[in-house]
Symmetry: D2
Subunit: 363 residues, 4 copies
Amino acid sequence: MPNSFGKLFTVTTWGESHGGAVGVVVDGCPPRLPLEVSEIQVELDRRRPGQSDLVTAREEEDKVEILSGLFEGRTTGTPISMLVRNTDARPGAYDEMGKKFRPSHADFTYQAKFGIRDHQGGGRASARETVGRVAAGAIAKKILQLAGGVEIRAFVTRIHDLAAHSLDHFPSLDEVEDSPVRCPDPATAARMIARIKAVRADGDSVGGLIECRVRGVPAGLGEPVFDRLEADLAKAMLSLPATKGFEIGSGFAGSLLKGSEHNDLFENREGQVRTRTNRSGGVQGGISNGEEIRFGVAFKPTATILRPQATVDVHGRATKLAGRGRHDPCVLPRAVPIVEAMTALVLVDHWMRQAAQCGTFKF
Amino acid sequence: MPNSFGKLFTVTTWGESHGGAVGVVVDGCPPRLPLEVSEIQVELDRRRPGQSDLVTAREEEDKVEILSGLFEGRTTGTPISMLVRNTDARPGAYDEMGKKFRPSHADFTYQAKFGIRDHQGGGRASARETVGRVAAGAIAKKILQLAGGVEIRAFVTRIHDLAAHSLDHFPSLDEVEDSPVRCPDPATAARMIARIKAVRADGDSVGGLIECRVRGVPAGLGEPVFDRLEADLAKAMLSLPATKGFEIGSGFAGSLLKGSEHNDLFENREGQVRTRTNRSGGVQGGISNGEEIRFGVAFKPTATILRPQATVDVHGRATKLAGRGRHDPCVLPRAVPIVEAMTALVLVDHWMRQAAQCGTFKF
Amino acid sequence: MPNSFGKLFTVTTWGESHGGAVGVVVDGCPPRLPLEVSEIQVELDRRRPGQSDLVTAREEEDKVEILSGLFEGRTTGTPISMLVRNTDARPGAYDEMGKKFRPSHADFTYQAKFGIRDHQGGGRASARETVGRVAAGAIAKKILQLAGGVEIRAFVTRIHDLAAHSLDHFPSLDEVEDSPVRCPDPATAARMIARIKAVRADGDSVGGLIECRVRGVPAGLGEPVFDRLEADLAKAMLSLPATKGFEIGSGFAGSLLKGSEHNDLFENREGQVRTRTNRSGGVQGGISNGEEIRFGVAFKPTATILRPQATVDVHGRATKLAGRGRHDPCVLPRAVPIVEAMTALVLVDHWMRQAAQCGTFKF
Amino acid sequence: MPNSFGKLFTVTTWGESHGGAVGVVVDGCPPRLPLEVSEIQVELDRRRPGQSDLVTAREEEDKVEILSGLFEGRTTGTPISMLVRNTDARPGAYDEMGKKFRPSHADFTYQAKFGIRDHQGGGRASARETVGRVAAGAIAKKILQLAGGVEIRAFVTRIHDLAAHSLDHFPSLDEVEDSPVRCPDPATAARMIARIKAVRADGDSVGGLIECRVRGVPAGLGEPVFDRLEADLAKAMLSLPATKGFEIGSGFAGSLLKGSEHNDLFENREGQVRTRTNRSGGVQGGISNGEEIRFGVAFKPTATILRPQATVDVHGRATKLAGRGRHDPCVLPRAVPIVEAMTALVLVDHWMRQAAQCGTFKF
């Protein structure tokens, strides 16, 4: 099931960029969760096109409809089907894409795999697919919040070569949302905004880094071997469009330290087993240790640029292609809620798995 | 199934470091594959303890026994069960570990999750678990090689801060195996060896980077959304002990480029659609594009060090613990065949999935 | 994923009887399949309420909308999302059901499991859920037909104690559809119709048997152990509302024969290995043998009857309840296309699995 | 994963009849379960060949070895690998089977599917595969017993045409085990034994029926749609060698009743919602209702008979074949513990699933 994610809290997304709608089915949701459609909408609004002048001008309200699984304001434990109609689709704008392969897009590989592709706006490969992830993630976030005050906060730490100061506290949602670039370092955020506008004016694009932190996760979530918590987080992040890398805790830089410098020593703090440092990033041996979970994700620059590029057409003949249509010169601001959504999906799923194996029967 | 990996070519590993044996069941293996036990053994020998003076002195022959799924030298399509007995287990050497949590190991998190743990040599969390992965990966490698000459080559590119020269060709197996550190840059390899010996003498440990390249993979393997090829590779790598990061193609550095610098332009080379550059790392939109697949993995320094470290015991009381037992001061040399094995498992699985969906019926 | 079926051709249904809509997502569909919405609709029309005076009078057009996965008349290999709006929902008619448990319905067990239930028309437990199965099954049927002329034919063989003559040929679709009761024995069909009308007039209900035959399935589909073809067919049938039994080939009666009477002897017929008899029902050792697949399914009488019955309310107090709302006095006529749909889903899935394991690589 | 069963309590069996060993890996077992190897052995002894003169004379001690997942007498939550060596394999006895297809066996279908087969004693298709199921089922049974006194009792109710009196109480284990035919009706059991001996003397074989009852299962286990409890039980039973049918509660006979006769009326008994009758067989809408679970399974006569039968060889040429080797003239006595094992696997898995979805988070 290539379009599903999660073993117990299972999310299946569907839909193309310029088809009738995009949507998601959430299967396995716990029953009796209080849920309002507005709680989904608020997360979709953070992902929505047109929310600022940094992002694509495509005009989509992204109004979500919940079609099942809810009764009198609570989940019933049956599948929750959610749907967002595509209202500003302009399929005609993409005729050229049907005949030529856009560089560093999925046009060629979809054709190679399926022998057919919906080329309009990238079809299934469009980031529009993530609407369903964010809608499902909003439910997962609410579960985590009610379950124990778990908070997930992603934010931009670098755009192109503009790196924010490292953050010594867990940022509030307001700190992140205060800037349209979603970087909680105001001075750097201002420079990032200027940079994004400059590359857009130049018909170019940029990438950068997002950091994600999670607090309130109890010790014990994760699995020893293949389904380590960091393995599932890595998969979740690398399943997002435009991502090129993932690191947890000390990450790539940690490989420059010696063991004596890197190990997180245990201590007893207020009756809890805690680590003095957190180079592990909140996960040891694949299982959460109760510390803050911290990881980073690298995003490449948007593949769509407005300059003419050399490429080939579907017959393999050399040609030129300039980006058209509406797009983001930098995906990171809108990727922030998506990173949070995927993180929430991973955590709820592991929480349920942990409960199933270690909490069902008491010996 | 936390101890299984792969949807169609499914591998289930089992076993503890100091239990009776470790092993693996491979389910879904294609029938009629010619297979000799020696083909499994050669890969296990690359992972084996005691193979050089850089690695743990634990004496294990790691002699593999194939118990099922083979008939007259060919696979039958039924499960292949393989087993390696633990012969040099010294459970008594680990008594202290039963009472104290080793820093940056999985002792505390296993206890938090399961409420019980086999502390001997790390139990299930020991890298000894990867014996099963390597045995299964040997089968996957053979399939890939017969299927189309696919070659997978991992190698060490950095130990601590000693970085090898970047490699402008696909290294031969001999180039990698010539040095016990498995770095195909002989001059740097020599320095790496010296460094590992020095930190060992100092009771300390180091980490580093491994790169993996795959050539011969046809375009079309992978999935559009959650099961992108890079997502499954990231999961595979982060499921290995001691890994902290993954990047594909341009990776983290790629986020410093502009779109106009980063895009891989298509061209027609000898009748094939090819890219001029390979910042995508052989995968676009989650699907292989026929170019060389390239990714990197970051490993932290080994958590076990011979110096006394502050920690807590199982009752939460402050104490000290010095590493004992046999261990690797640097896991990278032995991790090379493991990275290759996991890569092979991902590729065979996706190859079968691609055939199932796009090759079963012809319309 | 309790609301999904199939490992490679995966179907996820969602929706409640009186919610906004019911629907299905088909993931893993082969690409390039020519598909018209009318091909889905024709199967839904066979399942539709109000199609004859034997079935519920609920007025639903059951007009299906395809929201994704189709491009220029062909499937793209991405998820196919289909939706049917509920137009004749009358939630108010079910107030009493919110307070009392209907005998032999799922009211009590849903409450016990989830602690909440959408009681309107049975909510998720309503046979309305099968809309999604039939829509997905229509795609599977088309694949099977194009793949090799595979035909699936279910039909009613007994209503209450009225048993049709056993059929010595594979019935045409017309033979089945000629009678609203979907029994291809016209004389018995007439008596069945009279019986259903009589029990309805009496406020009562009846059950019966459906037989299903499949021809054109090649030898080799199925799996040796847990996922035997008959095991997956049994699961598919027992997953349908109101089913109480499944048998394949000689079935229960076969247990009265001796081995010498029961075995299907092999012979060479026109260059093919064939069996002289077919007590195996087309499956041996869990794998199809190329003969006609034959199985039977037992349906209980509809639980909803118009007579007052003793029961308890949600507080456990004794009370009475008479069925209300619109319902089928006998589910079998409308169950025929549903049995066919589930059969098609099982066969396409196993066909793809077979291709993946045994057809991807050639040794 | 065709050789795995269960989503959370996952069992993977491996091994051929005349290979080195047969075995099983249990993944997802709850931690801290007290477990002795003798508790596994006792169930294997009930399945063992040579236990009476009614069954095959193959001499296998079926001594089980636990290789992982246990520490100091308790499960650790990691995979439990169990292995039974084949000691009385006589591969040479089966040469003819390599060249001819035995009627109503899996020889032809395995060849059709895999293009290769281990013909010795049926290879993977041998009932010897069920060793692993019974070993895993022994763990599941213990969990159920400790969890709430759940008891599973299967027994023979008919051999050939000799039907036992229907049982008005839940039989004790002793009542079942008192007779080697495992029928708790002593008079009929004696006649069954005579019948089995007679058909064996005649070189023939017989089948029959097994009933299974489970008491102590709480209301709420199961799923609404595809994974209904009865659907998973049906799959479990039809996945056993030689089974041809499954029915739950009123079963096939229930389809002869009217709704007014069939419905199970609710009442309040000692503060519990209970049903007056149990035609539902303990499951309503796919979910357990707290009543005794009751189902029946039909077994065909053993395919191996000692008389010469017409068949074809691997080249499709007509030939004759007489059964050789050691076999059971009637599989039912040894199938009783296997039916119980599969039932236990289904129930533990659903119990964990129920806990995961409905018990992890409290709203």
